[in-house]
């Protein structure tokens, strides 16, 4: 008779064993150690001059902010969905008005090129 603890331990050992086995298999299948020129990234034949570690402008942050705003719109829709069937058309119209107001905001942002990051 297998207890919950016994079942968990079996799963843990099988998962751990599988992981170690796959890692070892990867090590067996790996090609021989590569040389420094083999590891150089392909740039058409020349080597890199600087490190690729660099910071660049995250221009799509405006999209992330808009996503957050509309995510909050979705949060308002969850409790509405619970009472929607009971309230009927009145709830439908109210939510539509809410969505239309927010859509106008999106259209304004689109026109003002807030969605362009290139």
């Amino acid at each position: 008779m297998l207890t919950a603890l016994g079942g968990s331990l079996i799963i843990a050992f099988v998962a751990g064993g599988l992981t170690l086995g796959l890692r070892s298999l990867g090590g067996l299948l790996t090609p021989p150690r590569t040389t420094a020129p083999e590891r150089v990234p392909f740039l058409g034949g020349l080597g890199p001059e600087t490190h690729a570690w660099s910071r660049f402008h995250v221009r799509y942050y405006a999209m992330a902010l808009l996503f957050l705003a509309f995510d909050m719109e979705m949060v308002f829709m969850y409790p509405w969905a619970v009472v929607f069937l009971r309230e009927g058309m009145k709830a439908m119209v109210e939510m539509l008005m809410f969505i239309v107001i927010l859509t106008l905001g999106i259209l304004y942002a689109w026109r003002e090129r807030a969605l362009r990051w290139a």
């Binding site: 090609p31 021989p32 040389t35 420094a36 020129p37 083999e38 150089v40 392909f42 740039l43 058409g44 034949g45 020349l46 080597g47 890199p48 001059e49 600087t50 490190h51 690729a52 570690w53 660099s54 910071r55 660049f56 402008h57 221009r59 290139a118």
Partner: protein, 440 residues
């Protein structure tokens, strides 16, 4: 693997896969590159964009001194197991040990069969993989200030692999952000062979571009004069108009094939190449159908619109052929040629002057050339020392290739990387074309 010992099932299956080939070309390779247009190769061979995805390196022609180190580096960047096939017009010419273990063949080989055999022998273990050519040395050790290499200034502490960190520079918004210095080339697949761009990138936007010296400029011999090129012969003797126009149409279609592959439309590119192979004078329908497909393709209609615009004043009267005509300049030597005047020739001109416009320009010129070829009969043209080639005016002296290369820094400034590649491809550059185009 010993004699009579059959390779395992996995190796045999691997050997049946399409051969993944990375191709690089140097000078004296024009004739060799025509071998790549063999339709049988399309079934057997996959030409990759990166050596990492390939097992066979196909080197074509001769490599000037400045490109040899890059060629060796490309060899080492191929995935193991790897093998090199070096096609040269003169197999026994001294090679300066660029590829010590390469299989050397001349241009009369059956390329598909040879590549298939090399691939099979490599993957079944009959032939060993080639060892790296360059020495296993890091550019510099990761050293800091301490006795164990630790410490030092900056984010990393020390100088990782001898390479400095990215410098900072103002970007479009005035922020001081990191700027990567990158040199791309000379064997970058979308670019013409030999073209090296020194770029400063912020993200994928080019803030500065410089063109390195043309490695083929120092070549003593000009192989194009030895070739049977119709336009070169037309410099000194009359050549049938039908021959020149069909060569012009094929040139434009081969350019289009390459351009479509760069834009990710590989199947359309192969279709274009098939059309070029079966081109007949007067048979415009396949090109017209291709034009309709491209016209309705959203990929093509969006790519290159408003990108790579050249000021017409900078290229006026420079004999730049399709590039000038795509900018609205009505320049074509054929307008003053009596043979073409009798045919009622009028140059095709587009006004948008961007990457897309140059694509339509060459496609329309290909259609026009096929039509002219059918109507030309026995007409001949040439022998006057100047001829309108597919890339522009050709003469025996002068060279406007430096003009186009000189335009690149301003043209690429501010472009995203994809747009920059499309712009370079749209100019139809060939750095080996040391035969000339006239600079007026």
């Amino acid at each position: 693997m010993g004699l009579g010992q059959r390779p395992g099932i996995l190796k045999r299956l691997a050997a049946m896969a399409p051969v993944r080939v990375f191709a690089i070309s140097g000078s004296e390779s024009a004739e060799i590159e025509t071998l790549l247009q063999d339709p049988e190769l399309e079934q057997e061979i996959v030409l990759t964009d990166s050596p990492r995805s390939a097992n066979v390196l196909l080197a074509m022609g001769e490599f000037p001194g400045s490109m040899q180190e890059s060629a060796r580096r490309i060899h080492d960047q191929l995935s193991r197991p790897r093998r090199t096939l070096w096609l040269r017009q003169n197999v026994s010419a001294p090679s300066e040990a660029i590829f010590p273990k390469a299989i050397r063949e001349d241009t009369h080989c059956d390329l598909a069969l040879l590549l298939r055999k090399i691939h099979r022998d490599l993957l079944t273990g009959v032939e060993p993989s080639e060892e790296p050519i360059l020495p296993d040395e890091e550019p510099a050790l990761w050293r800091g200030v301490g006795p164990y290499g630790q410490g030092g200034t900056g984010m990393t502490g020390g100088v990782p692999y001898g390479r400095p960190m990215a410098e900072t520079a103002p970007d479009r918004d005035g922020l001081a952000l990191d700027q990567l210095s990158v040199r791309v080339g000379p064997f970058f697949r979308p670019f013409p062979s030999g073209l090296t761009l020194a770029l400063k990138l912020q993200g994928d936007v080019i803030q500065e571009a410089a063109v390195a010296e043309n490695p083929f400029d120092a070549q003593k011999s000009n192989p194009y004069f030895e070739s049977g090129d119709s336009f070169i012969r037309a410099l000194s003797e009359p050549v049938p108009v039908v021959e020149m126009e069909m060569a012009r149409a094929r040139h434009h279609l081969h350019w289009l094939c390459n351009a479509l592959q760069v834009h990710g439309l590989g199947a359309l590119g192969l279709r274009t190449r098939a059309i070029a192979r079966s081109l007949r004078p007067g048979v415009v329908a396949p090109i017209a159908q291709l034009r309709r497909i491209l016209r309705y393709s959203r990929s093509v209609s969006l790519v290159g619109a408003g990108v790579g615009v050249i000021q017409p004043d900078k290229i006026r009267d420079r004999g730049l052929g399709p590039v000038a005509r795509a900018a609205g300049l009505r320049e074509d030597l054929r307008m003053t040629d009596p043979a073409y005047q009798e045919l009622g020739f009028e140059p095709v001109v587009h006004a948008e002057n961007d990457v897309r416009s140059r694509l339509w320009q060459r496609l329309d010129e290909a259609m026009q050339s096929v039509t002219l070829a059918a109507r030309s009969g026995n007409a001949t043209s040439g022998g006057g020392g100047r001829v309108e080639g597919p890339r522009g005016v050709i003469t025996l002296d002068g060279n406007s290739l430096p003009l186009l290369l000189g335009l690149l820094p301003d043209l690429l400034y501010g472009l995203e990387w994809g747009d920059a590649v499309a712009t370079v491809v749209s100019l139809d550059l060939d750095l080996r074309d040391v035969r000339s185009q006239r600079v007026s």
